[in-house]
Symmetry: C2
Subunit: 470 residues, 2 copies
């Protein structure tokens, strides 16, 4: 169904054998070619065919990552950075073979600068691990993709999540990175100053480059103070369109909502079943407000007025931390909940993002398309950013269903592009969306991206077969 890259290997069995001997000599038990481990390091969360690497190595320092890249480069063998393996577009697959570099052991919080609201972490730290670490200091890191992903992987894929509407994405919350380039050199992209005009923005170039320009070995992140007051709630609507219109009006009013998420009726049903909620099975907004006690109350009241204009309500407010946690855990488990709608079938989570003004229209057309195509495909999304997910659950052994789903996905992306949107708001390109890059960016921009890739990785050893189409 997608172009997942050729399996053409540009290195010989002898290259690989030499490299394996050198990695084994250098890293001992931290290098393995065992089949089970290799299979674990291929893309297993999606319906994309897994393509296992030829070996897996577990570095414990930046210097070791540099050494691995230099060794692989000498033998012309690809290097694929691996965080938690929770990406959804085949980012960690090895279509041309190569060595998976598992950053899981580089999981230290290096330094918290509470007074500067920043933290320096190794790439294997996960978002939950980081927030557990920070909690006592009254600080938090807001970016929250569904999975408990690693910070390195989140930076590499320009991840976002439910809080992005207020706090931005990884693009906005990465202060600087350290990374090993294809030549084995280590770059540090920026100082800890909050802003700078000193030279090209290598930070933002590496954020979202999906391991194709460098392997991130350290990340400095912006932090935020845990708000004095948080309130969350759910608000049902008669239709997805009414919910989207309420979202549009909320954002346009300047209300600084911290989270505003849409679940369609099917996703609410899935969440009820999977997470033990008892919400009415209609399109639903999940909301959260951050601020002072008075500020949160003011925001909630204003949102209530807006929702009522679109026939939404009644609200259920969850001000107790346990209730809030229950709601947001259910939201974060949406991927698994949706999958459970058809046990044993494959989930095909995809995302697009459009300008907010087109959101209601895009969701409504997508709903119509799902129904006409006859798919089981719940919709859930970070609608405050114009970003939503569709998750068809399909029987991959049913050729008709696969074909129908293929057509639906094509139409979804073309619809988003026609509305001045993007083929992916936050999942990234990986293998699954390479074919849309030309339509989205045009020949000249794509040529510029390829020129940059070639300049920084002339041998093409860093995560080949990802982002850029052939």
């Amino acid at each position: 169904m997608v172009d997942s890259g050729e399996n053409a290997r540009r290195f010989t069995a002898q290259d690989l054998s030499f490299l394996g001997d050198r990695l084994a000599a250098r890293f001992g038990a931290r290098f393995s070619t065992g089949q089970a481990l290799r299979d674990q390091h291929a893309s297993v969360l999606t319906w994309l065919p897994p393509q296992a690497p030829d070996g897996v190595v577990f570095p414990e320092s930046e210097a070791e990552v540099a050494e691995i890249v230099r060794l692989c480069s000498e033998h012309g063998v690809p290097v694929i950075a691996y965080g938690t393996g929770t990406s959804l577009e085949g980012h960690v697959n090895a279509p041309e073979g190569g060595i998976s570099v598992d950053m899981g052991r580089m999981n230290a919080v290096v330094a918290v600068h509470a007074e500067d609201l920043d933290v320096v972490v190794q790439p294997g730290v996960t978002r939950k691990q980081l927030n557990d670490y920070l909690r006592d200091q009254g600080l938090f890191f807001p970016i929250d993709p569904g999975a408990d992903a690693s910070i390195g992987g989140m930076a590499a894929t320009r991840a976002s999540g439910t809080n992005a509407v207020r706090y931005g994405t990884m693009k906005d919350n990465v202060v600087s990175v350290r990374a090993v380039l294809a030549n084995g050199e280590v770059v540090s992209t920026a100082s800890r100053a909050k802003k700078s005009s000193a030279g090209y923005d290598l930070t933002r170039l590496l954020v979202g480059s999906e391991g194709t320009l460098g392997i991130i070995t350290e990340v400095t992140l912006r932090l935020h103070g845990i708000p004095e007051a948080i309130s969350a709630g759910v608000c049902p609507f008669a239709t997805e369109k009414a919910a989207c219109d309420a979202v549009i009006a909320t954002i346009q009013s300047g209300l600084a909502v911290a989270r505003i998420e849409l679940l369609d009726a099917l996703m609410v049903r899935a969440a009820n079943a999977y997470s033990g909620l008892d919400l009415p099975e209609s399109p639903m907004l999940f909301l959260e407000f951050h601020g002072s006690e008075a500020g949160v109350a003011e925001q909630a009241e204003r949102f209530g007025e807006i929702a009522a204009e679109y026939g939404g309500g009644p609200f259920s407010w969850a001000t107790r931390p346990e209730e809030r946690t229950r709601l947001w855990t259910a939201r974060h488990n949406a991927y698994w909940a949706a999958g459970a709608l058809r046990p044993g079938m494959r989930s095909l989570a995809t995302d697009v993002c459009v300008p907010l003004s087109r959101l209601a229209e895009c969701v409504a057309e997508t709903r119509r398309d799902i129904d006409e195509t006859g798919l089981v495909a719940p919709i859930v999304g970070h609608v405050g950013d114009g970003n939503f997910h569709v998750q068809p659950i399909i029987d991959v052994d049913n050729a008709d269903e696969v074909e129908a789903c293929k057509g639906f996905l094509e139409r979804l992306v073309q619809r988003a592009l026609a509305m001045e949107g993007t083929c992916t708001g936050e999942h990234g390109v990986g293998q699954g969306k390479r074919k849309y890059l030309k339509a989205e960016h045009g020949e000249a921009a794509l040529a510029a991206m390829k020129a940059i890739k070639t300049a920084l990785d002339p041998k093409g050893i860093l995560n080949p077969g990802k982002i850029l189409p052939d």
Copy 2:
């Protein structure tokens, strides 16, 4: 005092003559080689020696810009994009000769998408022109360098200003750009979606590239709703250190101040004289709060408590729009006010930025250095971001004074770098700060920047002698 690039021309008089003929034939009176016009298009706002281009052309469309770049490329002649000429580090100088491309006639607001909070503009639109245009719709664009700079120039230099502490810099407020690359191709860097994970971040690569990677021909900007309530005020402190400590405490408390600016006593004196204010001549914070009526009052009260802890006060609050405008006009005219302290002398405005926790220390050491060096050099800054300016006013005919100032500037940058800061928070590199780039970024990062430059501009015709050291 600085390495302003060699004057070595890589093209012959014949190249230039042929090119001139072709530009004259194509653009008629919109191309000129008159000396006065050429001199106007060299860097005249700073003490850097002006280096006039060989000709100036005034395109009226993106297609014309592409045509100019192609013609210049054919003859190997540099192309220097020109906005309003208000940059401070020699960005528009032509050290290797070449053609200045004045974007002043491309000054249309192309489209306002109020419902998406974005606007599409041509690069010659200035920030004041844009805000005048937007006011009726209840929207504003917050980035405000001192000068009424063009949006294209602001994007190219990654400008910021007084509102950056709340609204971010050009990095955060540019949604996408269209640009002509060195090969004459036009790229569009991103869709209008609020976020995307689709490919390399060409937007952020062009923002801050100072015309060395492409010439920006259109910019899509994020807009913000004009706040329901705005209050501004000034608060004197006994010392700069006390003022900085109050700033640090304010930001750390999570107070979402919209503006928090430091003027040292000398700058207050200059502003009083130049802008007819009558502020006490002591270190002073200028502040502004945006929000709801209740929110603004709450913020002001909390700031008052913090300031008092550091001995600051009394406040003078200016809630009437005219009073506010008077204060902020005085702040924006600080460059001219400072210059008027020594009429006929040269202003040497420079800026650095450090992590907030180091701000008080950095300003205090800089104050001591100014006093010991015996310079007339007011300090003013966007201290909420850890960013401050020093503006020595020097007699360029006095070799001792020039030498003393040179030493001071070196120490200022080294001090900022030693404190994990940057050699420029917002002015950019241009010619003046090329020599610091290696110390700030290191060999490997600089090599990566050069590789990108070479990949996208192999002939080196786009604004040569800027950003990257030789």
